[in-house]
C-alpha cells in the first residue's frame, strides 16, 4: 500500500483536521483501516499462502519444487487413481494422517492430480492477475485521458468504450479464447484483458471529471505542471481507491471468466492446466471419481471468494463512509 505515494497535502487530509490523525498520510490511513479488517487480512494471508504453496510445490518455470511428480508426466495407476490423502487419524478408524503417493489421486491417464491442481492454481492466478492488472491499466489510461481532456477526446474514447461494452464479456471472451487459447496462459490473459477494461474506464472517467475541477488541480496548472504530470501525479493518486477496488473485482470476475471459457473449450488448452479446465474435463467423472472434481472446484471457489473479500475490505478501507462502525471502536475513538 505504501507505493501509492499519495501526497500528504491532499484536501481530504487537511479538512479531516482531527488531532489524532494529524500527520498521517492518506495511504497510511487506508493501510491501517485495511489491516484492521480481519476478514480481508485473513483472506489476503490465505491467498498468499495458497499461491506460495502451489509455486513451491511444483516449482515455477525452470525451478523445480519439492513435490516429486510434475503435471504432465504419466505414472502407473495405483488403486484406480484414488486419492491417497487421509486426514482422519488411525484412532478414529481412518487410515492415519498421511499424504500417500498421490494425495489428490490421479487423472484418468495417470498424471498426478496434486501436481495438476497446483499447476492449475498457478495458471488461474496468473490469468486473474494479468487480466486484473492489464485491464486496469488500459481502463485507467483511457478513463483518465477522457475525463481530463473532456470535449471531443472524451466523446471519441467513451464511444469506443461503448462499442466494447455492447458485447458481453463471455461472448467476446469466447471468440478471443477460441483464437488464442492454444497460445498459453499469458497471451490468452493479455488478450482477454483487452476486452475487459471498459467498466474501469467509465469509473475512472467519472472520478476525473469531478477531481479536475478541484483547487489543487488548478494550483498545479498555475504552477506550470504539464498535463501528464497533473493527470498522473495529482489527480490519479486521488482516484486510486476507485481503481484498486474495481481492479480486485475485475480480478475476481476474471477467474470466473477463465473458468467459463474453459468449460466451453475456449480457455487454456492441454497440456497446460487451469482449474476451470480440470473441472470441465472431469465433470462426467463426477459420480465415479469425485476427487477429480472436488479439488479444483474447491480451489476456484476459494480463490474467487478470497479476492472478493479482499476487494470488499479495500472498499471499506478507501471509502470509510460505508465502513462498518463497531460501537465499541467508536467509543474508543471518541474517548481518545
Amino acid at each position: 500500500m505504501t507505493q501509492l505515494a499519495i501526497e500528504p497535502s491532499t484536501p481530504e487530509t487537511e479538512s479531516a483536521g482531527h488531532e489524532s490523525v494529524a500527520g498521517q498520510t492518506q495511504a497510511r490511513l487506508v493501510f491501517k483501516r485495511f489491516v484492521s479488517n480481519k476478514i480481508a487480512m485473513t483472506s489476503l494471508i490465505v491467498l498468499v499462502l495458497i499461491v506460495g504453496f502451489s509455486i513451491s510445490a511444483i516449482g515455477i518455470g525452470p525451478i523445480p519444487g519439492w513435490w516429486k511428480y510434475d503435471y504432465v508426466q504419466l505414472n502407473p495407476q495405483n488403486n484406480g487413481g484414488a486419492a491417497t490423502l487421509s486426514l482422519i487419524p488411525e484412532w478414529l478408524g481412518g487410515a492415519g494422517i498421511m499424504l500417500g503417493e498421490h494425495p489428490f489421486g490421479q487423472s484418468r491417464i495417470g498424471v498426478d492430480y496434486f501436481a495438476m491442481t497446483m499447476r492449475g492454481i498457478q495458471n488461474s492466478f496468473l490469468v486473474m492477475v494479468v487480466i486484473g492488472g492489464v485491464g486496469t491499466i488500459i481502463g485507467t489510461v483511457v478513463g483518465a485521458i477522457a475525463g481530463y481532456y473532456r470535449g471531443w477526446v472524451d466523446s471519441v474514447l467513451m464511444r469506443i468504450t461503448d462499442i466494447f461494452i455492447v458485447i458481453p464479456a463471455l461472448v467476446i471472451g469466447a471468440v478471443v479464447g477460441r483464437t488464442a487459447g492454444g497460445l498459453g496462459a499469458i497471451v490468452l490473459a493479455v488478450l482477454l484483458a483487452f476486452v475487459s477494461w471498459m467498466s474501469i474506464a467509465r469509473l475512472v472517467r467519472a472520478e476525473f471529471l469531478t477531481l479536475r475541477e478541484r483547487e489543487f488541480v488548478e494550483a498545479a496548472r498555475v504552477a506550470g505542471a504539464s498535463d501528464m504530470r497533473i493527470i498522473f501525479k495529482h489527480i490519479l493518486p486521488n482516484a486510486v481507491g476507485v481503481v484498486i477496488v474495481a481492479a480486485t473485482l475485475l480480478a475476481a470476475a476474471a477467474i470466473l471468466l477463465e473458468t467459463a471459457l474453459s468449460y466451453l473449450g475456449y480457455g487454456i488448452r492441454p497440456p497446460e492446466v487451469s482449474l476451470g479446465r480440470l473441472i470441465s474435463d472431469n465433470q462426467s467423472a463426477f459420480a465415479t471419481r469425485p476427487w477429480l472434481y472436488w479439488w479444483p472446484a474447491t480451489f476456484i471457489v476459494l480463490l474467487a471468494l478470497l479476492v472478493n473479500f479482499i476487494g470488499d475490505g479495500l472498499r471499506d478501507a478507501f471509502d470509510p463512509r460505508q465502513k462498518r462502525f463497531k460501537r465499541r471502536k467508536m467509543r474508543e475513538f471518541v474517548g481518545q
Binding site: 467476446i172 469466447a174 483464437t179 467459463a260 466451453l264 465433470q283 463426477f286 471457489v301 472478493n308 473479500f309
Partner: protein, 514 residues
C-alpha cells in the same frame, strides 16, 4: 428531451455498426469454417467445400464480407417489407428462422428465474438491511459472496447430481424421511427463523420453539402420509395457507390494526377458498388460456372489492385486494397441479424419475395443461435454480445497500419524527425510493438475460440463444453468431437507454442533459 432521444438513437446505431464490425472480424479469425469438410473422407469433398464457400462468400476476406452481411442486415430496417437477410448457417438454414425459436426457449428459461431472483433478492436485501450486522445479515452477506464466487457450471453440475438424481432416488426407493432427519431439519429451521426474526433472548427462544415444532410436525405428516408421491394442499392446508396470506398481505400493505384492509383481504381469501371447491370441474377442462383469464378475473375482483370497501384510502384497499386475490388463487391452482403429480410421475415416459437434467421438456410428451405444466416445471427447475442463485446474490447486495442509504436520508428522519409507524416509513417512504437504483440494474439485467445463459443452457442442453452462440462458435459459423450478436447488442443498448430514461423519470434530481 426529443433531441436527446434522437441523438441517442443515432449514436446507438453507429455504436452497433462498429461493434458488429469488431465482432465479425474477431469471430471470422477465430477458426476455419471449412475444417469439418477438409477432414472428411467424402468423395465429393471438393464440391462440398466449393458449395460452402459459394453459399457463405468465404472467398471474400472478412472485413469486406462484413459489408455484404451489413447490406443484408440493413434490409431489416425497411418496415413491413420482411426483407430481413441475416445470411445462412453452415447447414444452409436461414438465420432469421432459427433466431426466434432460440429466443423463445431463452425467454421461457430466464423469465421465472429473473422474476424470482428479483423478488427474493429484494425481500432478503430489505430483511438484511433492517437487521444490519445481525447474525442473519452476516450469514446472508457471506452466502452472497460465496454465490458470487461460484462458477455457474459448477452450480449446475452439483444441482444435477444432488437435487435431480438425489430426489429421484429418494422418490423411487422410499419417500419417507427418517425421524433423525426430521429432528435435524426442524432444529435448523428453528435456528434460521430465530435469527431472521431476532429480538431479545426470550422472543428468540419462543420463535425457535414454535417454528421448529411446526416444521417437525409438517415434515412428519408429509413423511407418514406419502406426501411426496401424492402431494396436495388439501382443504385444511389450503385454509391455513390462505389465512396466512391474508394476514401477511394486510400486515405488509396496511398494518394489522387496519381492520378495513383486513376485511378486504379476508373476503378475497374466502372467495378463493370457495373457488377451490367450485372450480375443480372447470379446472379439469382448462387450457393455459383459461388459467390466464382466471388470473385476470382474480385481480379484477380483488381490485373491485378493494375499491368498494376501501373507504377513504381506496388505493391501499385495491392493492391489498389485488395481491391477496392473486396469491390465494395461485395457491388454489398450485393445489390442482399437485393433484396431477402422481399421474405425471407414473406415466411411462417419466417412469418414476420426475426431475429431468437435460432439455426443456420430455420429447413427445402430451397431456393436458396440468401434466405439460408439471413437465415444464420439472425440466426448468434446475436451470432456474442455477440462474436464480447467481443473480439473487447481486440483487440482495444492491437492495441492502440501497435501503441502508435511503434510511440515512433526512426525509426518513422527518417521517419518523412526525410519528409514522415504522412499517409505513419502510414500505411507503424508504422502499419506493430504494427501488430507483434497482430499476437501472433490472434494465441492464434483462438486456443481458435475453442473450441467454451460455453456460447454463449448455449444461442443461436447452437450445436457447446462448447455446446457439456456443455451438455456432464451435463451427466458426459466422452468420448465426452475428444474428445472435445483433439481438443481444440491440437489447443491451435498448435496455440501457430505458434505464437512463427510467432514472430521469423516477428521480427528479437527475436531469437529462440536452
Amino acid at each position: 428531451m426529443v433531441s436527446f432521444i434522437l441523438r441517442r438513437i443515432v449514436v446507438s446505431i453507429l455504436i452497433l455498426i462498429a461493434a458488429s464490425f469488431i465482432m465479425y472480424v474477431l469471430a471470422a479469425n477465430s477458426g476455419d469454417p471449412l475444417r469439418d469438410l477438409e477432414g472428411s473422407n467424402s468423395p465429393n469433398k471438393d464440391q462440398l467445400i466449393a458449395a460452402r464457400v459459394q453459399a457463405l462468400d468465404l472467398d471474400v476476406p472478412p472485413p469486406l464480407r462484413w459489408f455484404l452481411w451489413l447490406g443484408g442486415a440493413a434490409k431489416c430496417l425497411i418496415p413491413f417489407a420482411n426483407a430481413c437477410d441475416l445470411g445462412l448457417t453452415i447447414q444452409n438454414a436461414e438465420v432469421t428462422t432459427i433466431l426466434p425459436t432460440a429466443m423463445l426457449a431463452t425467454v421461457q428459461l430466464v423469465t421465472l428465474a429473473f422474476v424470482l431472483a428479483l423478488v427474493l433478492g429484494i425481500v432478503v436485501g430489505i430483511a438484511t438491511a433492517l437487521r444490519q450486522y445481525s447474525g442473519f445479515d452476516l450469514s446472508v452477506t457471506f452466502v452472497s459472496f460465496f454465490l458470487f464466487s461460484l462458477p455457474s457450471f459448477l452450480v449446475a453440475v452439483l444441482l444435477k447430481e444432488f437435487i435431480a438424481i438425489g430426489f429421484n432416488n429418494f422418490l423411487q426407493r422410499d419417500p419417507t424421511i427418517a425421524p433423525v432427519a426430521i429432528v435435524l431439519i426442524a432444529v435448523v429451521a428453528g435456528l434460521v427463523w430465530q435469527v431472521l426474526i431476532g429480538g431479545a433472548f426470550k422472543r428468540r427462544a419462543v420463535v425457535f420453539g414454535v417454528s421448529a415444532l411446526a416444521t417437525g410436525l409438517v415434515l412428519a405428516y408429509m413423511s407418514l402420509s406419502d406426501w411426496f408421491l401424492h402431494p396436495g394442499l388439501g382443504p385444511v392446508g389450503l385454509l391455513v395457507l390462505i389465512a396466512g396470506t391474508v394476514v401477511a398481505t394486510t400486515a405488509l400493505v396496511a398494518g394489522l390494526s387496519n381492520r378495513r384492509v383486513l376485511l378486504i383481504s379476508g373476503i378475497n381469501g374466502a372467495i378463493a377458498y370457495a373457488c377451490y371447491f367450485a372450480l375443480q370441474g372447470l379446472f379439469d377442462v382448462s387450457t393455459i388460456g383459461t388459467l390466464l383469464i382466471l388470473a385476470l378475473v382474480a385481480i379484477i375482483v380483488g381490485i373491485a372489492i378493494g375499491f368498494a370497501l376501501g373507504a377513504h384510502d381506496k388505493g391501499q384497499g385495491m392493492r391489498a385486494g389485488a395481491i391477496t386475490a392473486l396469491v390465494t388463487s395461485g395457491l388454489v391452482v398450485l393445489d390442482r397441479f399437485m393433484q396431477s403429480w402422481p399421474a405425471y410421475v407414473d406415466s411411462p415416459r417419466i417412469n418414476g424419475r420426475p426431475i429431468a437434467t437435460v432439455g426443456a421438456g420430455t420429447p413427445g410428451f402430451g397431456g393436458d395443461v396440468w401434466l405439460s405444466g408439471i413437465d415444464t416445471f420439472t425440466h426448468l427447475l434446475l436451470p432456474t435454480i442455477a440462474l436464480l442463485l447467481i443473480s439473487f446474490a447481486s440483487y440482495t447486495r444492491y437492495s441492502r445497500s440501497g435501503l441502508l442509504e435511503v434510511l440515512n436520508q433526512d426525509y426518513i428522519r422527518t417521517a419518523r419524527a412526525k410519528g409514522l409507524p415504522e412499517r409505513t416509513v419502510i414500505v411507503r417512504h424508504a422502499f419506493r425510493n430504494m427501488l430507483i437504483p434497482i430499476a437501472t440494474l433490472v434494465a441492464t439485467d434483462v438486456g443481458a438475460l435475453l442473450g441467454g445463459a451460455v453456460i447454463t443452457e449448455r449444461v442443461f442442453a436447452i437450445s436457447g440463444m446462448g447455446a446457439l452462440f456456443a455451438s455456432s462458435l464451435d463451427r466458426v459459423d459466422l452468420n448465426p453468431i452475428m444474428g445472435y450478436f445483433v439481438v443481444i447488442a440491440i437489447m443491451a443498448i435498448l435496455f440501457n437507454f430505458l434505464a437512463d430514461l427510467a432514472y430521469a423519470v423516477l428521480d427528479p434530481r437527475v436531469r437529462v442533459r440536452t
